[in-house]
Chain length 242, copies 2
């Protein structure tokens, strides 16, 4: 009987997951966008320092600085850009993608427009949802982070970074879109380069920021669907005129 | 000499204001939108209670409830909907607009698309920027509020409310748009009715929310330009299908 109950539970879970996936697809995919279910990872990057110096700086609303290596001897080598782990790897920019894929098991998706379905939004901060997105001949890193900038008040920060140089990044525009319950929130910006630090982008707040109540409004059963589109950037017309 | 210096200062101020107005117009008004400069008002609504009970509730992240009258005898009468002042007035919904205009001196603007240029964003919380917007045969109240939900961390909240019933409000969609520095943030939602309380919309966070760093990125010389558009709502296609 217990076996039967457990099996039935597992089947229900599968049906629920399938249904959620289907719903996200319906919301975003008139043009048949790819929906990718992204599971959370508890960020381990600052674990060793979290109890001491980092704690103080988080209380002051300041994030600990990026953990880069003390000396990069070859200027063409870049450190590992994985936002999750403090990793001693360094290598050429061209092989960052394969390092992230193989060592940190970050998935990569193809397509101009995809839907990023982040599950388990209720998990406590700090938590990251990460994926790579291959598009227009380049690879991008999408990071959704749950973090407590103000103690006891977790917020969600989403940004997209080009795995390339800042000059290459200037050629693109990325759009993140939330759409649910007759509400729609869109963020459009030029991606930063992964050579800049994802932590500083988030601590500067120069990204899509959601407080918990907005995240709940846009979530469905604890999952948040973010529509992602990348285009080659035309400088915004109005600004170009100025 | 002093007189000359002061006159020169005043002329410079005028030129600066004109230039700001012109810039906001350029950013938003390819189609000749109306730009309205909105000055801040320090919110006096909760002034008497702010030092005692309200202080406690703000620290807990809860706003004091709406100050409605203890007994409205005629069910067709509504209390004053001005978000700034606790006002004993009550009247029919049809005369709320003229009350807000005459008694609380809230400006009203015509046009399907306008630009709301909020000045002096640096002023301390609580501060409100308010205007009425007449469009599609109805009047809307736009409220931008600077408020400290978390002590020491002011945020900006922007929402649009219909001066009408909730059923009437369901027929519209409003859009608020920020556009500067190659970043664009858009919020679309169904307006709430002014019969619901603006304070609860803001404390629920069901509106456009900006933290200080994002507000600075979108501001120009301490002024924030918000593009506003109202349309009759087509239920978002994708959701309607579900």
């Amino acid at each position: 009987m217990l076996f039967f109950t457990q099996c039935f539970g597992a089947v229900l879970d599968l049906i629920h997951l399938r249904f959620q996936h289907y719903k996200a697809k319906r919301v975003f995919s008139a043009a048949g966008q790819l929906v990718c279910v992204v599971n959370p990872t508890h960020s381990l990057k600052y674990a060793p320092t979290r109890c001491t110096a980092a704690q103080t700086s988080v209380e002051q609303g300041v994030l600990p600085p990026c953990h880069h290596h003390e000396a990069v001897h070859d200027p063409q080598l870049v450190p590992c850009t994985c936002p999750l782990f403090s990793c001693p790897w360094e290598g050429h920019l061209e092989v960052v993608v394969s390092h992230l894929r193989q060592t940190h098991r970050i998935n990569i998706l193809q397509g101009a427009e995809i839907v990023f379905l982040a599950t388990d939004m209720h998990l406590p901060a700090p938590t990251d949802w990460i994926i790579m997105h291959s598009c227009l001949g380049h690879q991008f890193l999408l990071v959704l982070r749950k973090q407590e900038k103000y103690e006891g008040h977790p917020q969600f920060f989403a940004t997209m970074m080009l795995i390339g140089t800042p000059t290459q990044a200037d050629n693109f525009t990325y759009r993140l879109e939330l759409n649910r319950n007759q509400r729609r929130l869109k963020w459009e910006a030029t991606p930063r380069s992964v050579l800049e630090c994802v932590d500083s982008v988030i601590s500067d707040g120069d990204c899509l920021v959601l407080n918990t109540s907005l995240a709940q409004l846009f979530s469905d059963n604890g999952s948040l669907a973010i529509g992602i589109a990348i285009t080659t950037s035309k400088v915004h017309n109005a600004e170009a005129e100025m």
